[in-house]
């Protein structure tokens, strides 16, 4: 018996998947997204702070208040990343194709891999906690 299996090849889908502007948006978003997230972590720039015990949301970073439980900034970091990443990626779609074609595809996967050691370093307080 002989079986031929297609594992990686697919018929191109019209519309979004063949759109040059979407390609630019997606590739730019994948490159700048992790960078923006790491910048947000480094400078602690959440779009908002959530206080889960009181369900209160404050714009930007806000410290936990006495008697109101902890604060959460991860939602805010993610929101900053998605918003800023979308804006930058949208702006990239306005550039001429001759420019966007030169964006190195290697950055799409290299930056997320490089983010791992940075994240490990950023979390060092937990690894070396006495």
């Amino acid at each position: 018996m002989s079986t031929t299996t297609s594992t990686t090849r697919a018929t191109p889908t019209p519309s979004l998947a063949s759109s040059t502007k979407f390609k630019t948006f997606a590739i730019t978003f994948a490159i700048v997204g992790p960078v923006i997230y790491m910048v947000c972590l480094f400078f602690n720039w959440p779009l908002f702070t959530f206080h889960p015990a009181t369900n209160r949301i404050a714009l930007g970073w806000e410290a936990a208040r006495s008697g109101e439980g902890p604060n959460m900034t991860w939602y805010g970091w993610t929101a900053t990343t998605l918003l800023a990443g979308s804006v930058v990626s949208f702006l990239a779609t306005l550039l001429p194709e001759t420019v966007t074609r030169k964006i190195p595809l290697i950055l799409v996967w290299l930056i997320p891999f490089l983010a791992i050691p940075y994240l490990a370093w950023d979390l060092r307080q937990w690894w070396f906690h006495p």
């Binding site: 018996m1 002989s2 079986t3 031929t4 299996t5 297609s6 594992t7 990686t8 090849r9 697919a10 018929t11 191109p12 889908t13 979004l16 998947a17 063949s18 979407f22 390609k23 948006f25 997606a26 590739i27 978003f29 994948a30 997204g33 992790p34 997230y37 972590l41 959530f50 889960p52 015990a53 439980g69 902890p70 959460m72 991860w74 939602y75 970091w77 993610t78 990343t81 998605l82 990443g85 595809l105 290697i106 799409v108 996967w109 997320p112 891999f113 983010a115 791992i116 994240l119 490990a120 950023d122 979390l123 307080q125 937990w126 690894w127 906690h129």
Partner: protein, 164 residues
Amino acid sequence: MDIISVNTFWTIWLLVHLLLAVALLGALTHQAVAAVMPVRQVAGPGGFVTRFRAVPAAGYATAICVLWILTFIVGSYIYTKYRIYIRIPIEQAGYWKTQGFFDFKEHVASIALTLLPAYWFFWKNAHNPQYDTARKMVTVYLAIACWFLFIVGHVLNNVRGFGS
């Protein structure tokens, strides 16, 4: 009158998160293996590994994006309760590395989220060899990330999760 208790309510959402994660893990693992070790042609029925990687990988892309986003949303929803009822006792017990790995998990989940549009685009253009390397590497990254997120979540649940 409440139909279910508060504990049951949050346990159901935790299990929804788990089930979505299992589906995502399975799909991503199949796809990553198929991308790295594609089966071009098999003479004979083939073994387990061959059948495991002989899946129409491109067809998984949209489902994986949807599953990642759904798992992310449900995880974000239950995170509010984790922060108060799980994390605080974990810190009080001095499980610092466990806490560190959870923070690692949240960062990896967010970074992987930003890769989804490119990942989807690469798989929808799988006929284009220009994207072969990027497609493979992004898929492998997402698969490794998914396994990491799953294992950390599982360990945290063992530390203080279901029924605690």
